[in-house]
């Protein structure tokens, strides 16, 4: 079970992510509503993974990624973003995020993203599982996959 920090200024998105993460069998250690809260929570809760919104008031997700990576160069951060924010996604990944996932967030997309970052949580087994991963190829992206 992973300890996950959820960062999003939208209460409804935090609630949705928390619900999905718990359904996937992981623990949400904190739901932060901006970058500043995320940095504090990261230092105190030491999560295995962070889901990070990009556009937030006070401190955006890119700045928060930079601060978290400075505190822990092994931090695993997945950006959660809308279409049309490609420039900011690239900046986030250059700042240390491991990849990004496009909204709307679904259980399948998040499970795939977690499996990409933590191989032990990747779907495994028969060919059907592989087909599902292929079908969802676009649900999780890294800079390599953009190339």
């Amino acid at each position: 079970m992973l300890k996950i920090l959820v960062v999003d200024d939208s209460l409804i998105i935090r609630k949705k992510l928390i619900k999905i993460i718990e359904k996937l069998g992981h623990e949400v250690v904190f739901g932060a509503k901006d970058g500043q809260e995320a940095i504090s929570a990261y230092k105190s809760k030491k999560p295995d993974l962070v889901t990070m919104d990009i556009t937030m008031p006070d401190m955006d997700g890119i700045t928060a990624v930079k601060h978290i990576m400075k505190a822990d160069k092994n931090a695993k951060i997945i950006m959660v973003t809308s279409h049309g924010q490609e420039d900011m996604v690239i900046k986030s990944i250059q700042s240390g995020a491991v990849g990004y996932m496009l909204k709307p967030v679904t259980e399948d997309k998040l499970a795939t993203a977690i499996g990409e970052v933590f191989i032990e949580y990747a779907s495994s087994g028969d060919e059907d599982d592989l087909d599902i991963l292929e079908d969802e190829e676009e649900s999780f992206h890294t800079l390599d996959s953009e190339a």
Partner: protein, 157 residues
């Protein structure tokens, strides 16, 4: 062009993501001096290569339905209701503009988006000097919303 993209993505969001039937779409022919708002309104500013304000305004009943759908059967506690409504309204405009952006001129490259802000108890927004307002009203089985853009004519037409 921008309004067309916003209308299309609003319709797709309502009908495909939310499974809400759309009954009618009315496009405002002339740029009004002020935008008449419905019960609940969220705005997103765009900057960089497109300076405009995109505004979505909901009738209460439609926003209540969207809250119900976003919550996916989970009950909303009374003290959280206003924040949830803000959040759903803001997330809706974020989703619509995010999906519309790649269809804007130059595929929306170089356009930045501010976090959404929500306003309540306001009846209208007045345009400033030479700004232009383009707007459409989308009526659904659960009430209506308007989607509008406000900014310099050469940018939003």
């Amino acid at each position: 062009m921008i309004l067309d993209a916003l209308i299309l993505q609003s319709k797709l969001f309502l009908s495909e993501d939310m499974d809400i039937n759309i009954e009618n779409v009315d496009i405002e022919d002339q740029s009004p001096d002020k935008l008449i708002l419905k019960d609940y309104t969220s705005m997103v500013g765009t900057g960089g290569k497109l300076n405009s304000m995109v505004i979505i305004s909901f009738e209460n009943h439609l926003l209540d339905k969207l809250v119900e759908l976003f919550m996916d059967g989970e009950e909303v506690e009374e003290e959280e209701l206003e924040e949830i409504k803000d959040s759903v309204s803001g997330e809706t405009i974020n989703t619509i503009i995010g999906l519309a952006l790649p269809t804007f001129p130059n595929r929306g490259k170089g356009v930045t988006i501010t976090p959404p802000i929500t306003i309540n108890n306001a009846s209208n927004i007045k345009k400033y000097k030479n700004a232009k307002i383009i707007s459409a009203n989308i009526t659904t089985e659960f009430g209506a919303l308007s989607i509008s853009a406000m900014g310099p004519e050469d940018m939003i037409k």
